[in-house]
Amino acid sequence: MATKKPSRIDVKKTYKLYINGAFPRSESGRVFEVTAKNGDFVANPALASRKDLRDAVTAARAAESGWSKATAYNRGQILYRIAEMLEGRSEQFESEISLTSHTTPAKAKVIVSEAIDRWVWYAGWSDKLQAVSGATNPVSGPFFNFSISEPQGVVAIASSDSFIEFIDAIAAAVVSGNTSVVLVPGGLAVPAMSFAEVLATSDLPAGVINILTGSLDELAPWAASHMDIDGFDITGIQKKKHGALKEAGAENLKRIHSFGSGKTPTRILAFMESKTVWHSVGI
């Protein structure tokens, strides 16, 4: 209950989902309440449903061909563009993070700066992955043989409620050419959906990153058993729940991984497949 009459009524934002480059509400019509540290109402973000997840996977699959075939230089520039857009709106993210999580404004500033720098770091990897992970293989015979790494396809991400871990998981999945469906827990919903606006203005093709807010307990098992998801980053899920997700994911042999904190190319390569090509040599 407001006690003081404000001089101006603010225009508040409706937090929706981010699917295929658009901001739809959940088809289920469900929302949940996000409050500030002091208990004040902040927003009613969408509580994503299984159908929303399926729609997001469809969008991600449709975007796969274009994004994975884009040049590494192009993908690198778009990831760098995300950093540029985030930098320009850093104050908004600082205030949303400190408003909706137990983070001081000073700490929120550090988090957002680091998040921006992570995008810059990942952007630079796009055209260096092959140099690190590929090989030409000296086989015994008249063949030119090389191995390159390719994106797996559609990677689902169960994010933790840390903004930096959210960024790490997404950037690691998409820099190589994967498309993604990101499941965000309620505590991170507000900055995550504002981040979707950053993506929408970063020349990122629609469907490459799709973001769903809601309950990970609900969404993660559906993602694990979805037959058109190739990889699943479950870092944001408690370890004791990993077994059940991996069991469900075995049906299409999903690549399911979780990671510690910190940025590493290992995380990028975990969602890539090595392809080896033999060319016969002769005249």
């Binding site: 063949f143 991996k246 075995a250 299409n252 080896t276």
Partner: protein, 482 residues
């Protein structure tokens, strides 16, 4: 007047098979409790009796492997480990003919293949990995990557000793110790390999071999002392393993099934292509996970290719695997023969057209004539399911994109072949194919330096090359990757 090949059988006197075998645990052979016969699939002659490993045998083997890991193997330098592997490679070369004959007897594959492909590749695998043992810091896996400990390895019957080499060589080079289970129908060369370990004076317990069936394999997968699973076999069993280890910290590499597309463009060199198609599907009786079992041929050359393929198929010599002229040997087991017959019958029922050359197949043993099905569509089960036999499904395409779509339209992603004289087209196709191994103007080539493994439901991880080392090393420790 027709010229016929005179029989040219390789002598089997070079091998001596014991009437009964036990397990190889902690450096010695230990007696098994129950036994089952292993037969020559070409004649159904009982060759020997193999021990059926139970939970207690597996437990002893894992304990031996753990002890060897802690007490000896992990304390040896990479340089010394490597020298053991070099020794093994050399002994395998010295005894190559013996291994080739034994493999042919137990597996049914032609001596020409065991002698010229399987066994030389086995030795090459140990020689290649021997050199890695003291160079792991340079493999791009971070500084001082660490072994897991005990690797549980379960291998199939299609390339018995070669699959052993694919598993054991990298595991030992990276500093792991091993409990290996050969396939139920093809244990003999693994047991002979145990003798090689003895001759190489490999420390006791570094390599342990427990023979048996699926229940033995399951005991290895579920043993808490095993830290890493390496499996080659069917996708169904691979999924079972993935479920079995889901709630553990065990790592796994899985090399599973495939339905390889062999794609022929209209500019392909026709005669070479026909040879490549034959090699793609009839090599090793088609018992190859990466076999080119779907021929996807451009419509404009389909008729010519199929006509020439039939002429070539009529010249495939099916018969005594020990005969040096034999091209196509025996199907490995009765069970597999039944599966091939069943799926082929489904091909008939679903409306594809079957053709085989006239073959005089022996009444004894398990045989299946080289077979092609034409008029196959993507919905046919013979276009989707792995037959694992000498049966080729032929589909056609008009545009290159259609070829890619058809090639990628299975849950598998292990191998593919591309036949074309145009370099840019080959590279374009190889970029579009979702497969771990792609052969351009060749097929079914293997090398220890070349990573092997699949996309999608063809499995997890790679074997061979620099990439294969990662499967046996904790590479993500510094990052917390799990």
């Amino acid at each position: 007047m027709t010229f016929e090949y005179a029989p040219a059988p390789e002598s089997r006197s070079i091998v001596s098979i014991k009437p009964k075998y036990g397990h190889f645990i902690n450096g010695s052979f230990v007696a098994g409790k129950k036994h089952f016969p292993t037969i020559n699939p070409a004649t159904e002659e009982i060759l020997s009796h193999i021990a059926l490993g139970g939970i207690s045998d597996v437990d002893k083997a894992v304990m031996a492997a753990q002890k060897a890991y802690t007490k000896t193997w992990s304390k040896l330098s990479g340089k010394e480990r490597g020298k053991y592997l070099y020794r093994i490679a050399r002994i395998l070369q010295e005894r190559a003919r013996e291994f080739a004959v034994l493999e042919t007897l137990d597996n049914g594959k032609p001596i020409r293949e065991t002698r010229d492909i399987d066994i030389p590749l086995v030795a090459a695998h140990f020689f290649y990995h021997a050199g890695w043992a003291d160079k792991l810091d340079y493999a791009g896996l971070g500084h001082s990557p660490k072994a897991y400990g005990v690797a549980g390895q379960i291998i199939p019957w299609n390339f018995p000793l070669l699959m052993l080499a694919w598993k054991v060589a990298p595991a030992l080079a990276t500093g792991n110790t091993v409990v290996l289970k050969p396939a139920e129908t093809t244990s003999l060369t693994a047991l002979l390999f145990a003798e090689v370990c003895q001759q190489a004076e490999l420390p006791d317990g570094v390599v342990n071999i427990v023979t048996g069936d699926g229940s033995t394999g399951s005991a290895i997968v579920n043993h808490p002392g095993v830290h890493k699973i390496a499996f080659t076999g069917s996708t169904d069993v691979g999924k079972k393993i993935a479920r079995a280890i889901a709630s553990t910290d065990k790592k796994a590499t899985l090399e599973l099934g495939g339905k390889g597309a062999n794609i022929v463009f209209d500019d392909a060199p026709i005669d070479e292509t026909v040879e490549g198609i034959v090699n793609g599907i009839f090599f090793n009786q088609g018992h190859v996970c990466c076999a080119g079992s779907r021929l996807i041929v451009q419509e404009s050359v389909a008729e010519e290719i199929i006509e020439k393929l039939k002429v070539r198929m009529a010249k495939i010599r099916v018969g005594d695997p020990l005969d040096k002229n034999t091209d196509l040997g025996a199907i490995n087991s009765k069970e597999q023969l039944v599966k091939i017959k069943e799926l082929s019958a489904i091909g008939d029922v679903e409306g594809a057209e079957r053709w085989s050359p006239q073959c005089n197949l022996s009444d004894k043993g398990f045989w299946f004539a080289p077979t092609i099905f034409t008029g196959v569509t993507q919905a046919h089960r013979i276009a989707q399911e792995e037959i694992f036999g000498p049966v080729l499904s032929v589909l056609t395409f008009r545009t290159p994109q259609e070829a890619m779509d058809k090639a990628n339209n299975t849950p598998f992603g292990l191998s593919a072949g591309i036949w074309s004289e145009k370099g840019s087209r080959i590279f374009w196709a190889s970029q579009h194919l979702k497969a771990g191994v792609i052969w351009a103007n060749t097929f079914n080539k293997f090398d220890p330096a070349s990573p092997f493994g699949g996309y999608k439901e063809s499995g997890w991880g790679r074997e061979g090359g620099k990439h294969g080392l990662a499967a046996y090393l904790k590479t993500g420790k510094e990052t917390g990757a799990k």
